[in-house]
Amino acid sequence: MPDADLVLTNGRIYTLDRKRPWASSVAVKSGRIVAVGEADAVADLSGPDTRVVDLGGAMLMPGIVDVHAHLMMGGQAELFELRFAPTSSFETLIARVAEAAAKAPEGSWIIGGQWGSDLLPKLNTLAALAALDKASQGRPVMLRDDTYHNRWINSQALRLAGVSAATPDPEKGSIGRDPASGAPTGMMIESAAGIVESTIARSGHYTEEMDRAAMAQSIATLNSYGVTAFLDAAAMQPILAALKGLDDRGELTAWSVSAMPAVEPSFMFGIAGDELIALRENYRGVHARPDFVKVFLDGVPGARTAAFHEPYTDDPILGCCFRGSTIVTVPDLIRWVGKCEKLGLGVKIHCAGDAAVSQALDAIDVVRSFNGPTKLIHHIAHASYIAPDDIARFAALGVAADLSPFLWYPTSFLEGHKQTMGEARAQRFWPNKDLLEAGALLAGGSDWPVMPNPDPWDGIEGLVTRRNPSGDFKGAALWPEQALDVATALEIFTINSARAIGLADTVGSIEIGKSADFIKLDRNVLDIPADEIAGTKVLTTWFEGRVVYERS
């Protein structure tokens, strides 16, 4: 055998290969694993050009696979946007805009965030708008809030977006107005945010170079937490183009699978559905795989927009018996799944409420009954509130449970759910153990930036403890009977997610022939108390045998 490019020795290598869970050495040639085992397995593979790394007894495992993330936004915010904490005061916000405007070229957009929702009444006035206009010195400004649902923009941005006192409110949104004059205040609520976001998207503000840089930045962030493969769960054209562009340049440092939205999402703009899907082969690369379609079936429990079998708590507007609703009918979902299967695409279905889960399973059941078995794996994303009768259907139908974001422990989200669903029902959140015992494929994801960072160790600890790793909600556990063991949690974030995104032959475990995607950890996560897992630091990340992150 020719000499290896890289040999890692003297490690505690957890392979995630059930046939050989542990090894001490691994050898790599041309980005692929060529040997795994004890020291003797790699002894003959070192030559003069082989780089040999002594792991010094550290734990090494395969790179993390994130089954659900949204990459572009985080990178854009880090690189190109004005950033301030949601706790910033109105004065701070205005001062920061003034600083940015002083540096920005004339006419260029200033985009920033995120202001706290509690500031909304103050910002929604002509006086505040005047202050923003003064600070922005003629440049258009758009500032996002902490929910990502609303925007506050200045008068120049209102002009560019064509919004005036005469502009009617869009459906499912509103334009903030001065009560006396009706003049817009610059506050763009819910779908009105789309008016300004799409104005920016169409203006060419983000160039392809900026998109690639933002994506590379996001991937570098993922690499730093040990992620070497991911599924982008709402890949619009700029994201597909950026991934392909990076891959063509040899700059893509993770395996990427993309889910193209069936309809334009509320938070991203551009072509979607058939039009976007038709372009997918233009964006395929060795590491860029546009192999999924994303369907949003409902909303979120906290906003009473998720679809449930049982009603929400009483609400002054929605009444006593509101259950939420799905935004795609079962026959339409059947049509989508059927069409995607013909095209060889998996479908990731956002289902936040248990009725949405039931309907997604119903639709997949119909497709399976007509079409017979498939190699494709469809995902129920955020498989969290699930009717007991539906648990066994995941395995029966070959559907993956996309476990994201990391909300399987007490959080402020859960507190919101208690308000809308009542305490008892809200707590029956994430029946992970039940799904596991029923044979479902559980795949871990961050839903970054819904989670402020994509650190999988937070999620992995939470799967095991069902307690908030940050120390918030001290003493409280969410449905602790659903806790999993560490080994299972590691599978969920590696080989299981690899299976779910169609890359099980390439990533997810340390086996001969697979991509040399490794992470070296600062602790052996199988040997420490569970509440120390979230503190795990990735020391080195290898992607195809190359170091793509090194902790300084």
Binding site: V330, D332, I334, G338, V366, S369, F370
Partner: protein, 356 residues
């Protein structure tokens, strides 16, 4: 013709390039019974209605010298049909008695049927009288083998008109007719000699149109296999010629059907397999109204609103379903009927004459 609100029957005339549809149309239009018919041709410039059409003018509507209106589709069929109706009501063209839509030789007739079945702006004004497909006796078999469009035109037909029959042997003609029967078992077959059809185009065929008991009885009869209960029900396969995956099969269901569940199954099959469900005709014994069967008629994903008959057309009160499909195995239909339409597997059978 009295009652301006009686829907105007529409016949769709289709057939592959060179199959003789225009000749047939020319002859049909000379029949006195078709005075007052309008002809819509969806391929301007390719009109060959010899002397009947004075010239292809810029006018969308042209009065033919036999009193028929000829028009070309510019824009969409819905607009043309609406305009025709309005002009007729306004007295600008003779009162409409019938509309014939001639498709291009390569056209898939299904979208035209969908327009007529499902377009709300046309609802109540027009009704599908039937689909007439011309097949050339000389080249028909080869065309069916080579062109999926031609096979589909045959599969959705209510009436098949074999043209140029005087140019082939009786043996070749019967082979063609056997193949046509396999593709479209419920379509009536007629022959044309020198372009003269041996049927009346006004003779309403289409099941969704009305609850004509004789017609329904007739197509149920036609759907019965002619080779006994042990016959393979995949006719196309049985005949050794699967035309582009098109095949037909029938089911008899002994037990009454719960309509809500059956309708759900219909939704599912239309959503997932609509494209390949070329035609579904059925007579359904529903639990809720056992004395009044429902007539089903679908073309791909579009279904007529089911028509409820006043009575059963014969003593046989079993549900009967006839499918013309592309690449949908018979077992798939049987399995999904059991699963989603709540029909006991044991009561789903292939038709056999002894049980009738």
């Amino acid at each position: 013709m009295s009652g301006a609100d009686r829907p105007i029957p529409v016949t769709v005339l289709t057939g592959f390039l060179g199959s003789g549809k225009t000749t047939v149309l020319n002859r049909l239009l000379r029949r006195p019974s078709l005075a007052g018919a309008a002809v819509i041709i969806n391929e301007f410039g390719a009109i060959g209605l010899d002397h009947l059409l004075i010239e292809a003018s810029e006018e969308q509507f042209t009065l033919l010298d036999n009193g028929c209106v000829c028009c070309t589709v510019r824009g969409d069929l819905v607009a043309t049909l609406k305009a025709l109706d309005q002009r007729s009501r306004a007295g600008e063209v003779p009162e409409l008695t019938h509309v014939i839509i001639e498709t291009t030789g390569l056209a898939d007739p299904a979208p035209i049927l969908h327009t007529l079945m499902a377009e709300p702006e046309l609802a109540g004004r027009y009704v599908i009288a039937g689909v007439v497909t011309t097949v050339d006796a000389v080249n028909g078999l080869m065309t069916l083998d080579r062109h999926a469009e031609a096979a589909k035109q045959v599969a959705v037909a209510d009436q098949l008109l074999v043209t140029k029959t005087d140019l082939v042997s009786a043996e070749a003609l019967s082979e063609l007719q056997r193949r046509l029967k396999a593709l479209a078992p419920t379509a009536r077959q007629s022959l044309a000699h020198d372009g003269e059809a041996d049927f009346d185009i006004l003779d309403s065929q289409h099941l969704g149109a009305a609850g004509d008991l004789d017609r329904i009885a007739a197509w149920l009869e036609m759907a019965e296999p002619d080779c006994g209960p042990d016959c393979a029900h995949d006719h196309a396969h049985h005949n050794g010629h699967a035309h582009h995956g098109i095949q037909s099969y029938s089911f008899v269901i002994d037990e009454p059907v719960e309509w809500a569940a059956f309708a759900r199954w219909l939704d599912y099959v239309a959503a997932l397999k609509g494209e390949d469900l070329l035609r579904l005709k059925g007579l359904v014994h529903v639990t809720e109204q056992p004395e009044r069967p429902l007539v089903l008629h679908g073309v791909q994903h579009v279904f007529h609103p089911p028509v409820r008959l006043d009575a059963w057309p014969s003593a046989d009160r079993r549900t009967r379903l006839v499918f013309i499909v592309r690449d949908i195995p018979r077992e798939t239909i049987a399995r999904t009927l059991t699963k989603f339409a709540a029909i006991d597997a044991a009561s789903i059978r292939a038709p056999d004459r002894t049980a009738a």
